[in-house]
Symmetry: C2
Subunit: 308 residues, 2 copies
């Protein structure tokens, strides 16, 4: 299995004409998770040909405007499109008031679908979602207001049994689950068939971690260790390192240090301040620490697999 | 003088990737009037190189989401950009609650500039703004909720006096204003110098009328009579005429009928339903009634002069 990540917005609070505020979609086969929802998200979804109605889960890192202003427009369009299914929103509990006030202002009656709010904890990592394919864990970041990152992890699959071996050794059904879980098989004459001969190993599970907005924060390292792809905000270049600290944002170099210490496979940077004409300074500084770093642009798509 | 109209968004409630919800900027030399403010307006302003901070007046036709969702993002960006000047918003009085709630949610302290709300009347045409160059009149439209159109009229200028005639006839200063206002001049020997010999006529004042959202509504005709440029919504094609009536919107043909009856010089159409792949059907139907009709696209700029 693989995840696909589509960048819908990559700028910080002040959007430009070609960099929208933060929003991303992580696609796990059959599931579309929207991560943050800055102004213009619904237009960016259309531009990237992702159906608004396929999104059933929205994760909001924090309630700063550039991460939430697109929600009311997206929800309103879902109403117009005739949505009936529940929409799940994982966020600070306060967000519900913000959205409900706007809905009450706009509509005389209840929305034709249910908004299910799931309040996040900002104290420690929590599994907030799990199905057969993926689990999502929220974890606290270090920002001016309560903020969470999210890590998406493919559910570990058991190896598959080799059909021809099942027949060759006449392995009874009652023993098969144990073999999937790693046991060897013992023949009636006492001969041991090693597990490795009986199974096709499962693909390595893939993982994606989203960290925005945050100051340099080493406490996240254990949670995101070994992640296939890490998105980390990099609002500032090193020349504005003090400003980064004061505003609880990171420089590219700080993001790269986190990536390096966590041993992730690949780092992507975004949430750039509108003061920089290009992201190249931030990217170059980050690559000095962690070469496998890239600067995202709106519309970029990243395929995430668990392979090296 | 001339007005410049920039179309920032031209779709109806469901935006597409290339047609944003309603927003326009009318530029009168030295003044930028934002008309409606759908989601993404601030990005469209940047794309069209119009400084956010130059906008001092925002006119909101009505409080449906596709005309107001861009306000909070625009105001937040003005805060970030260090705005100090008052920002004037002309709208239904209820809009103030909608905006103030969001500001209170987002900011711990007062905004660094004043939002001055000017409630509109939805009963009859009212002059809502006037300065040396332009006057703006709101007038009721016919929609599901209280909605206003706006007409911008250049202030009529007096003709200029011909310098050489002032000298030739030794016209005293005390008589000059009357001549500007149309009087002839009488010489000491009783000879009458006709006004037309003494003045250079002023350019014809220009005008722009904005009508969105509205059902076919003949009561607006007197207010917009003879306008140089009329923007009228045309959400639907004739095949959806019944739906247009039910939702209090117009077809292209109905917009054209209003234009023709009001004797405007040029008609532009917008607020197209997302159900049509192109605006061509709506445009063709409108041109059968009023040939001087055009369909707007995001980014279009129209120069409005009072000349034929």
């Amino acid at each position: 299995m693989s995840f696909d990540l589509t960048i819908l917005g990559s700028n910080s609070a002040l959007p430009t004409s070609n960099r929208y505020p933060t929003a991303q979609v992580l696609t796990v086969p059959g599931r579309f998770f929207l991560i943050d929802c800055g102004e213009g998200t619904q237009m960016q979804l259309r531009k990237n040909r992702i159906s608004l109605l396929k999104i059933d889960h929205i994760l909001i890192s924090h309630t700063h405007g550039d991460h939430i202003f697109g929600l009311i427009g997206l929800i309103s369009s879902m109403v117009l499109l005739g949505r009936k299914k529940d929409l799940h929103i994982f966020s600070h509990s306060e967000l519900q008031k913000f959205i409900q006030f706007q809905l009450d202002f706009l509509y005389q009656q209840e929305a034709p679908f249910r908004l299910v709010f799931h309040p996040l904890s900002f104290k420690s990592p929590q599994i907030i979602y799990q199905d057969k394919k993926v689990s999502i864990t929220s974890f606290p970041l270090k920002h001016r207001i309560a903020t969470c990152g999210f890590i998406f992890q493919e559910i570990v699959k058991l190896p598959k049994l080799k059909k021809e071996k099942l027949e060759e050794y006449k392995i009874p059904i009652r023993d098969r689950q144990k073999i999937k879980e790693g046991s060897d098989f013992v023949l009636s004459d006492g001969k041991i068939i090693p597990n490795s001969e009986l199974v096709i190993p499962a693909n390595k599970p893939c993982s994606y971690a989203f960290c925005s907005d945050t100051a340099y924060h080493e406490e996240i390292i254990d949670t995101i260790r070994g992640t296939d792809l890490l998105y980390h905000e990099a609002t500032f270049a090193e020349e504005h390192k003090i400003l980064a600290g004061e505003t609880f944002h990171s420089t590219g170099k700080q993001a790269a240090t986190i990536a390096q210490k966590a041993g992730v496979k690949k780092l992507i940077l975004g949430h750039f301040s509108a003061r920089y004409k290009t992201s190249s300074i931030i990217l170059e500084e980050a690559r000095e620490i962690f070469p496998e770093t890239y600067a995202v642009e709106d519309g970029n798509v990243y395929k995430i697999t668990g392979e090296e």
